[in-house]
């Protein structure tokens, strides 16, 4: 063995490693499916995009998980699944909310809106979506649904925000492509479209 071992306080030889240490991250502990055995799914009624949806939900299932994997609403993205990035932003009673960080069970009285619910019945884009198209706000687009929902939430609360206000309102949404400037252009354009 390398003499470096002693200095580095390596544990010499062979160790058996338990699985708790061997996997760096679980998927379903975050999405609510690593529940103790014996728990069962419960049927809950949630209001998603104006429709009442009955869905079997596990005790610790996150809203993002329900939306994506039970209801097929894959517009809500998961960038981190732990409240760091904002890719999963939806509106709950008009308030931008990280869908990865709230439990579906807590949504029973909430009015949930996802990016899929924004277009009008005739397929017209929401002004924020239209403005984001016109300003070419997205780059890779992975953060875009979250940015759209954060912007819609802002404009409902404040229809005429300043660029500075918009910057703060959207600051919980990371864009690794760095398209912040283009998203802010989009928000400001949306305020014009909504008049």
């Amino acid at each position: 063995m390398n003499p470096q071992l002693t200095r580095r306080r390596f544990i010499k030889g062979v160790i058996a490693s338990g699985a708790a240490a061997t996997t760096t991250a679980t998927w379903y502990s975050a999405t609510g499916q690593s529940r103790p055995s014996g728990f069962v799914e419960r049927l809950v009624r949630i209001n998603v995009n104006g429709q009442i949806r009955n869905v079997d939900v596990e005790p610790q299932e996150t809203l993002a998980s329900t939306l994506r994997y039970k209801l097929g609403l894959t517009g809500t993205k998961l960038g981190c699944n732990r409240g760091e990035c904002g890719a999963c932003t939806v509106l709950v009673n008009d308030v931008p909310t990280y869908a990865c960080s709230v439990l579906t069970h807590s949504m029973k009285s909430g009015r949930i809106e996802t990016v899929e619910g924004l277009e009008s019945a005739n397929g017209e884009l929401h002004p924020v979506q239209q403005a984001f198209v016109e300003e070419l706000s997205p780059q890779c687009g992975y953060c875009t649904p979250g940015q759209v929902m954060a912007a819609v939430g802002l404009l409902r609360a404040n229809p005429n925000p300043s660029r500075e206000e918009a910057r703060h309102a959207l600051s919980g949404n990371i864009c690794r492509c760095g398209s912040y400037d283009s998203y802010l252009d989009g928000v400001m354009r949306a305020t014009e479209l909504t008049g």
Binding site: Q4, A19, A25, W27, G178
Partner: protein
């Protein structure tokens, strides 16, 4: 030149899908019978797997199978650097050891918790300088460095040599690589100002927003792989080899990729896609492997860290006489990256030094795997060299703008240790434009103005990356409906270059954009080979190919018209989707008619004969499948001459608070010099996105490791901080020079990477300026470093910092 499409804004066809959430990324797909894979990863930075006991796990209900390195590499793991699908020889924490497939992820994770892996711990190292010590640990099995075509080797310095370098002196050890031009000694002797010092660039993770989740299934002997990559066909061409499936049997589905900044360009950077592919083959079920943010940190790759020594000499007139650069690169746990050489290349190009010497040694550490990341090398050196130029300018009594003008590359110049001529270079124009739009001169009166604890700093910086390749293929098709179909293998990573490059074909055929279809998103739509979309090359490289393919179609149209309607090919031109005689426009055929006629004739008109000989194997497969199905234009692009550069210039004004070490960017302009502008809004996006990356490089991003156990401490967005809305200016100004490059048919070159470098250069220069010319010689410069400097405290105790002298 007046264009129909080039230089005009348009809406790329995928944008509505991005704002509605309808566009699908790999993890958005499902497949009937789909099951789920989870990874067991190494908890140890350097180890050997002695035994895997998965008996209990495999007996669990719902568990469908396991994949190990032995399955992936039945003849033994490759004994070279580079990520592997799975390994029994992990060299970093988080490296995938095995995968379990189960009916759901919960079952897969529970099964993993029942697997016992016996590891033999091996010595690990986190800092390349520690590894260079005579008794330093080696990151790899067989050494701490990898020599091309020779294998692993051990590179050691004496303790004195390491200590001397750590103390800030020129390394005295023998470098692995030396490249030089000019008379270094003579050039330094002509210098009236010489700067000498050490520097560090922290490595940091790629962290694209979409983790590398993938879905794989096999049908009729074909592998269908849904993944995300920067490049579509270039990646597919490579990943076929990594997985071991014939190219013609792979369908790579990739309509959109959630961000790519170098580490998702090449197949070698995502071998983990082989895991669902091989598991699916083994258990005969579709396999979805979702990747967590923490896993993404490990398998997603990182920028190389650099630890260097630099000596730069300037003549009395401000000319950079010589630059001597010695860099120890941190190659991480899997090797990879040639950033150090590119750093020297960048200095040579941007400042046209009379003499340059680069010496470098690349050493492995048991940290994240490294590879190309937005301006690999060029962008790390940008924040190091820019403040040096400023201090030299102040010393020599030259303005900071003028010292850049004095040293600027321009048309007719050569650059880099290979002394390669530029295809064109308009850096002086870019400098002037940036300075003028920013009001650089007028703002000088604000320089170092104070307001309480706050002080104004001004910075100017330049960025460079080689921005163009050649030698790829293009295919365009037309059916009897007369619509132009551009078969485009360029990936959709967010730059919209898949659409911009298609417009070169539309331009040639003067087609209205609404009559053009871009055929892309999955390789069974028969797409030609492209170059990997790294190195800012896509626009230059692939406008050449699609322009060429459309020219081939145009020539064939004229041939058919001349044959059918009389006259010579030269007598014909096109307009309004018709090919017609120049002298009498009524004599002609519509594109729909000529396409139908071509299909009727067949042969070379439908790709069934007389194909360019040099087509890549991948393109040959695509052409053979398209042959006879439509009127075809096909082209193999010959090599171009010279170095097509991408340049940017940035000016920044900051207000730095000496009490908190924080600063606000009050104003920032990022100006491009990248030939003809294809798509102004796309260009703006590259410039503002690059700016955010530059702010991250200069101020925030670094990965950290626990030195005791080698555990990564920065696996998330909040730990390895990506700049947010609030770290970036309220508004970023942009601009461009827009002069055509002669080696590209529409004059375009790329810009993605320099857009970061110049911002990092300018921001670091502004910080230096605000602190009266203090050179940190580091990226990032964090708030604590600024506070320590202001307080006069030495900043050598950052317990978790890596790849730098502060560790």
């Amino acid at each position: 030149m007046a264009y129909m499409h080039i230089g005009k804004d348009f809406t790329p066809p995928d944008v509505p899908g991005k704002v509605t959430g309808r566009i699908k990324y790999a993890e958005d797909y499902t497949r009937e019978g789909m099951v789920y894979a989870r990874l067991l990863t190494s908890p140890i930075p350097h180890a050997r797997v002695v035994d895997i006991d998965a008996s209990e796990a495999l007996e669990m209900e719902g568990v469908l199978g396991m994949l190990t390195a032995d399955d992936c590499y039945p003849d033994g793991e490759p004994q070279s650097t580079g990520l592997k699908m799975l390994t029994n020889e992990p060299t970093l924490v988080g490296e995938p050891i095995l995968a379990i497939a189960a009916v759901d992820e919960k079952t897969a994770e529970t099964a993993i918790s029942k697997i016992s892996v016996t590891f033999e711990r091996l010595p690990f190292v986190l800092d390349p300088l520690d590894s260079l010590q005579p008794d330093g640990a080696d990151a790899y099995n067989g050494g701490n460095t990898f020599v091309f075509r020779q294998g692993f080797a051990e590179e050691k310095w004496s303790s004195d040599q390491v200590a001397s370098f750590r103390a800030g002196n020129e390394p005295t050890a023998e470098p692995q690589q030396t490249v030089a031009y000019g008379d270094l000694e003579a050039s330094f002797s002509e210098s009236s100002y010489v700067y000498e010092g050490t520097f560090t660039n922290a490595g940091y993770p790629h962290m694209s927003m979409e983790p590398r989740s993938a879905l794989a299934y096999w049908e009729d002997g074909k592998l269908y792989l849904h993944g995300g990559s920067q490049s579509l066909t270039a990646f597919a061409d490579g990943i076929a080899g990594v997985i071991g499936v014939p190219k013609e049997d792979l369908v790579f589905v990739n309509a959109a990729t959630g961000g790519g900044f170098g580490q998702r360009a090449r197949a070698g950077s995502i071998p983990v896609y082989g895991v669902p592919a091989k598991l699916s083959q083994k258990i005969n079920r579709p396999v979805m492997m979702r990747v967590t943010r923490e896993e993404e940190f490990t398998i997603g790759g990182a920028r190389q860290g650099l630890t260097g020594w630099i000596k730069v000499g300037f003549k009395p007139d401000g000319v950079m006489a010589a630059c001597d650069l010695w860099i120890v690169s941190d190659n991480g746990g899997k090797g990879g990256g040639a950033d150090a050489y590119s750093a020297a290349d960048c200095i040579s190009v941007l400042y046209q030094a009379d003499a340059v010497r680069f010496r470098g040694t690349a050493i492995g550490t048991n940290t994240a795997h490294r590879g190309a990341q937005r301006g690999p090398g060029q962008n790390q050196i940008a924040p190091i060299i820019s403040p040096i130029l400023d201090v030299a300018a102040d010393e020599l009594g030259i303005s900071r703008f003028d010292i850049r003008k004095i040293n600027t590359p321009m048309n007719g110049d050569v650059g880099g240790p290979q002394r390669t001529p530029f295809t064109s270079a308009y850096m002086p124009e870019a400098l002037e434009l940036a300075a003028e739009k920013f009001g650089w001169e007028e703002r000088q009166s604000r320089r170092r103005q104070t307001n309480g604890s706050k002080v104004i700093g001004l910075g100017i910086g330049q960025g460079y990356h080689n921005a163009g390749r050649s030698g790829m293929d293009g295919i365009v098709m037309m059916g009897a409906d007369g619509r132009l179909k551009v078969h485009n293998g360029v990936g959709n990573l967010g730059t919209y270059s898949y659409a911009s490059t298609s417009r070169a074909a539309a331009e040639v055929l003067k087609m209205p954009w609404e009559r053009v279809d871009i055929i892309t998103g999955r390789t069974d739509l028969h797409l030609p080979i492209t170059s990997p979309q790294d190195g800012s090359n896509s626009i230059f490289t692939n406008t050449r190919t699609f322009y060429g393919a459309a020219q081939d179609m145009l020539a064939k149209m004229k041939e058919i018209a001349a044959n059918d309607l009389g006259g010579a090919v030269e007598d014909y031109d096109i307009s309004n989707e018709r090919v017609h005689q120049i002298s009498d426009e009524t004599v002609g055929m519509t594109f729909a008619e000529v396409a139908a006629r071509g299909i009727e004739i067949g042969g070379k008109y439908t790709g069934s004969a007389e194909l360019p000989e040099e087509l890549a194997e991948w393109t040959q497969i695509a052409v053979s499948r398209l042959a006879g199905t439509g009127f075809m234009g096909v082209f193999h692009d010959p090599q171009h001459e010279g170095n097509p550069p991408g340049f940017t210039v940035t000016c920044i004004e900051i207000e730095l608070d000496k009490e908190t070490g924080k600063y606000e960017i009050l104003d920032l302009i990022n100006v491009a010099e990248s030939g003809t502008i294809m798509h102004p809004k796309g260009m703006e996006n590259q410039l503002v996105g690059g700016a955010v990356w530059g702010i991250g490089l200069s101020g925030y991003e670094r990965h950290l490791y626990d030195p005791q156990n080698g555990m990564p401490a920065s696996t998330g967005y909040w730990q390895s901080k990506v700049p947010t809305y609030l770290d970036t200016p309220v508004k970023i100004q942009t601009g461009w020079v827009d002069l055509p490059d002669p080696e590209n048919p529409v004059g375009a070159r790329g810009v993605g990477e320099p857009a970061q470098g110049s911002v990092s250069a300018a921001l670091t220069a502004a910080i230096t300026d605000a602190l009266d010319g203090h050179i940190f010689g580091a990226s990032p410069i964090t708030a604590d470093m600024i506070i320590n400097h202001v307080a006069g405290t030495t900043e050598n105790s950052v317990p978790l910092a890596q790849n730098n002298f502060r560790g």
